[in-house]
């Protein structure tokens, strides 16, 4: 653990001698919280989660307690709980650590959540590429079943719930909760329109469903262990608990770091925990919350007022690591994935890479996203192929503006935001890129044709 970290979820991960088997987990106090939980009333679990203020760690940051409260309990239909383990937002690799190194923590968090919401059947939707991860979870589930932590009449409570590991098959859109639900139903993962298809009301099999991220469900265990109000003392109001940040790109020590919300800044994360940039390199930009979040330029300044009225005046490195601060800086913390780019980065190339991703992953349901993402990809691909034009910056922005807000799910925004922010913040670089290429083309054409 690096100085400045506060490891709650990752307390045991990477510790010498700590294995992913149930004995390691139980020796470290594992499943004691589940025992406590089944002695509580289900509604008490829900109110502790509400009191904790815990926000979803998958990307949107929506309060988990609120999500649970929306469950339609009057319908009489079975309730389903789904763990979103389809970790696929570029830059994110935190859930992988829990699945591969501490699967029982997730299972305990899920069974507590299942009991609290009175779930009839629970699922872990894991990305298809995590072959080993799925096997690890299956094994852990059988270990837990043997000890009656899941399955029939859990710990004599009279409550029963099974847990199914469901593997995806390589589609990013399955990370969108309603797409994920369609995928479990055995269909193409076309996201559903909201309203009316809010999962808490009309979710899996048109029944009330909760979809929570791996990290969020693990936090539930710690909320119940400590009590919601006690847990809420970690972090700051509205930004409670710890968060796991996945740092990649041009830093000396990329990796995952668990930090109390608001206790450190992006600058401290990059320079202290991650050992700073490579020798001789300067920071060019940060993508602060997964590749769909708006890019931050190294020399930007952000001023304004926070929700609580506090004024702020930040450089990029001063932005606190929480939910609300990146939002105040016009971007988002998303899935906590920080991608660092130094001054060797070709910014047009980086956007071309991102555009190719979102074009590949558009499900094709909504015209603006299906067509627009492809056009964005084509324009930046042409630019890096040597045919950039000065007007491309405006063209890209215009396409992105026509996608945002016009699609069923947030894939439209995920496609548009990188483009809008790259053009806004690196406009000169896009234009310079085109001018340079134009000059090169001109010089090439001016050369006398070689005599055959």
């Amino acid at each position: 653990m690096s100085a400045g970290e506060n490891r709650i979820l990752f307390k045991n991960i990477d510790q010498p001698g700590y294995g992913r088997d149930i004995d390691s987990y139980m020796a470290a106090g594992g499943y004691e919280t589940l025992k406590k939980a089944v002695g509580m009333k289900p509604e008490e679990i829900c109110s502790e989660v509400m009191d904790s203020g815990i926000r979803g760690r998958g990307g949107a940051g929506f309060p988990a307690g609120m999500k649970w409260k929306f469950l339609d309990r009057k319908s009489g239909k079975p309730i389903y709980l789904v763990c979103n383990a389809d970790e696929s937002e570029p830059g994110t690799f935190k859930d992988r650590q829990i699945i591969y190194k501490d699967p029982h923590q997730l299972i305990e968090g899920m069974m507590i959540s299942a009991y609290g919401t009175q779930t009839a059947l629970a699922f872990i939707y894991i990305r298809g590429e995590m072959y080993e991860g799925a096997r690890i979870l299956e094994e852990a589930i059988e270990e837990a079943r043997a000890k009656n932590f899941l399955g029939d009449n859990i710990l004599g409570s009279g409550y029963s719930c099974d847990l199914i590991v469901h593997r995806g098959a390589g589609a990013y859109i399955c990370g969108e909760e309603t797409g994920l639900i369609e995928s479990i139903e055995g269909k193409r993962p076309y996201p559903r329109i909201k309203p009316p298809y809010f999962p808490a009301v009309l979710g899996l099999y048109m029944c009330p469903t909760i979809v929570n991220n791996v990290e969020t469900l693990c936090h539930v265990k710690h909320v119940i262990e400590r009590g919601g109000k006690e847990y809420a003392k970690i972090g700051k109001p509205g930004n409670t608990g710890t968060r796991i940040w996945s740092v990649s790109g041009h830093v000396q020590k990329p990796g995952y770091y668990e930090i109390e919300c608001g206790a450190m800044t992006y600058g401290e994360l990059i320079n202290d925990l991650c050992g700073g940039l490579r020798p001789g390199r300067k920071l060019k930009a940060i993508i602060p919350g997964g590749s769909s979040s708006k890019v931050l330029r190294a020399d930007e300044r952000f001023t304004g007022k926070l929700k609580d009225g506090t004024e702020f005046d930040w450089g990029v490195g001063d932005i606190p690591l929480d939910f609300d601060s990146p939002m105040a800086a016009g971007t988002m913390s998303g899935s906590g994935a920080v991608i660092v780019m130094d001054d060797s980065t070709d910014i047009v190339g980086a956007l071309a890479n991102i555009n190719a991703f979102y074009a590949h992953e558009s499900c094709g349901q909504c015209t603006p996203c299906r067509e627009g993402s492809l056009w964005l990809k084509k324009v930046t691909a042409r630019m890096i192929a040597g045919e950039a034009r000065e007007e491309d910056a405006d063209l890209l922005k215009s396409i992105a503006d026509q996608i945002e807000g016009r699609t069923i799910c947030a894939h439209g925004e995920a496609t548009a935001w990188p483009v809008q922010s790259f053009i806004l913040k690196f406009r000169d670089e896009f234009i310079e890129y085109a001018r340079k290429q134009a000059a090169e083309r001109k010089a090439k054409n001016a050369q006398p044709a070689a005599v055959a």
Binding site: M130, E132, R167, A169, Y205, S248, H250
Partner: protein, 172 residues
């Protein structure tokens, strides 16, 4: 004009897979939910999902064949044609690209003399560019079949290429 009648080999699965399928289907509240698990099992055994395989799944789950086909054609992991015995998947996305993923991909393409999504002449290796596989902190990464290889430097790529070649020689 006489024409030889081509009889397609009847589609059959091993008893082990059939037993697994019989266990999986009833776990779900709806049979259709077993589509992805069944396709994974069949691809593991056959290497790809043929038209016959999709029809078999449809019949097993009491679905119209199109409902399985639309799934097979959507999800990138399902192969509709046979691919190489070894499947090299190099991550293409940003964090890997910032750390030299393209050069690593080129090395694999050169070593097996293939373009992207092509299979080497001996049918041994298919090289594919895939999107982010959630291991950005150890970029660049390459997944060969089911195994993830992290921090793949050029030297490490050479080793992996040699391992694939040695394995192919042993197999033949």
């Amino acid at each position: 004009m006489s024409q030889t009648t081509e009889t397609a080999e009847p589609f059959a699965l091993s008893p082990e897979i059939l037993a697994k399928i019989d266990k999986i289907v009833p776990r779900y509240p709806s049979k259709r939910s077993a589509t992805l698990p069944l396709l994974h099992l069949i691809q593991d055994e056959k290497g790809f999902i043929s038209q016959q395989a999709a029809e078999w799944v449809a019949e097993r789950l009491e679905l119209e064949p199109i409902k399985v086909l639309e799934v097979v054609t959507f999800y990138p992991m399902f192969q509709q044609k046979p691919i190489g015995r070894r499947h090299v998947k190099v991550c293409r996305t940003l964090s890997c690209a910032l750390n030299g993923g393209a050069q690593i991909c080129q090395k694999f393409k050169d070593a097996f003399n293939v373009d992207l999504n092509e299979t080497s002449k001996d049918g041994e290796v298919t090289v594919e560019y895939v999107e982010c596989i959630a291991s950005c902190g150890t970029a660049p990464v390459v997944q060969i079949d089911e195994t993830l290889h992290e921090n793949v430097t050029e030297e490490r790529a050479d080793q992996l290429i040699e391992e694939i070649r040695a394995n192919a020689k042993q197999a033949s």
